[in-house]
């Protein structure tokens, strides 16, 4: 908006004026059904959705509940559904999403209260892919596994996952099928799958773990996960590569 108004650019740089937010509210002791509440806050150029929510909580309505911690898109606490898309409230500017700002908890997750969702199922999924290092051999004392810079670079993006749940919330198969691990967990699996320090055997085991009827093949390349990831990870790509490899491996069964 501000970019077209050349004249008042200096003023626009600091003041955006009052902004209206529509916030999903649900307090189990008080509400049978969720409701939307409207709030108005004063926003500046750099005001994020999280800033606005904190402002509401501190000055207007102390009962508004939202998880947040680091404010710098690292802890992954505040993934929310903001104007039709899963985003981190802390790095989403109020002015970039348009008014009114509609804030909801992550879709496909159950709501504990207000904007706080139940993450247990998500954590279970993450844990189900055995997301821990399974090295090719036990290292001797002081022995360091070697890894080429190229290999390290290949997993750089997936390593950045902050477990915010945005992708899993955006994925329809993950929504209907609890046993489908969902994009975050599969990207996590991929992080180890591609790590050359793990060796061939571990790679095969990882694929075996993932390819049951509710495994990697449930991915329908909706690309929602890729679109919403605040860290620019493409779980779709990771899943495609693993399913391709798994198929190749199966096709070559007679060679073994």
């Amino acid at each position: 908006m501000a970019t077209t108004q050349t004249e008042s650019e200096a003023d626009a740089a600091t003041e955006v004026g009052s902004v209206e937010l529509e916030v999903f509210r649900y307090v189990p002791e008080e509400d049978d059904e969720p409701r939307f509440e409207s709030y108005t806050v004063d926003a500046e150029e750099g005001t994020t959705v999280l800033d606005a929510l904190i402002e509401i909580r501190d000055t207007e309505d102390a009962s508004l509940t939202v998880r947040h911690s680091c404010r710098m898109a690292r802890c992954g606490s505040d993934a929310l559904y903001i104007n039709g898309k899963q985003r981190l409230a802390c790095n989403t500017l109020v002015k970039e999403v348009g008014e009114p700002v509609k804030v909801e908890p992550l879709p496909r997750f159950d709501v504990i209260r207000d904007l706080v969702v139940d993450m247990e199922g998500f954590y279970d999924r993450m844990e189900a892919v055995e997301p821990w290092f399974q090295p090719s051999h036990e290292p001797e004392t002081g022995e360091e596994f070697l890894q080429s810079p190229e290999n390290r670079k290949n997993i750089d993006t997936v390593l950045d996952c902050i477990w915010c749940g945005a992708c899993t919330s955006s994925c329809s198969p993950a929504g209907t099928d609890d046993r489908f691990k969902g994009p975050a967990a599969l990207a996590k699996a991929y992080r180890f799958y591609k790590d050359e320090r793990e060796g061939e055997e571990a790679r095969k085991n990882r694929l075996r773990l993932l390819e049951d009827a509710h495994g990697i093949y449930r991915c329908h390349t909706q690309f929602n996960c890729t679109e919403v990831c605040p860290k620019g990870i493409s779980p779709t790509e990771a899943i495609m590569e693993m399913s391709r490899d798994a198929t190749k491996q199966k096709l070559a069964f007679w060679r073994r």
Partner: protein, 134 residues
């Protein structure tokens, strides 16, 4: 989602999902269109074989009569065009998916979707006369 949660949670249910169709991005439309056309084609397959089976169970005469009768109303032609459209989209989008399986075109997935829609549209429009006149 999980059974061992400490608190009672509120499930917004699956109804949420399609109700957000306004927010869908390209990939999501591709998925639902693909699924919908797939279901249509599968259903047609079953019905098609059922109709054709008259040729075995009731003889060639009846078969010809049934086929002619079904094809007579104009509305059937429009529906057949629809079926063809379903097939064309399903085929083109299927090609798009197979490309992904081969790790190609992941970065331009949304453009590929629009391309498959546009191509489907073009093919269907170009073929329409055959269905509506023939």
């Amino acid at each position: 989602m999980s059974k061992d949660t400490r608190v009672e949670t509120y499930s917004r249910g699956l109804i949420e999902d399609p109700s957000r169709w306004k927010d869908w991005m390209g990939g999501m439309w591709a998925f639902y269109l693909h699924r919908f056309t797939g279901l249509v084609l599968s259903f047609y397959l079953v019905m098609h074989l059922f109709v054709l089976s008259t040729g075995y169970w009731m003889g060639h005469e009846t078969y010809t009569e049934v086929m002619q009768a079904i094809a007579a109303p104009k509305v059937i032609h429009v529906m057949e065009l629809g079926l063809f459209a379903a097939f064309v989209f399903h085929a083109l989008n299927g090609t798009r998916i197979v490309l992904f399986d081969m790790m190609r075109g992941l970065e331009i997935q949304e453009q590929l979707f629009y391309l498959s829609v546009a191509l489907s549209f073009a093919i269907v429009v170009a073929s329409a006369p055959f269905f509506l006149l023939g």
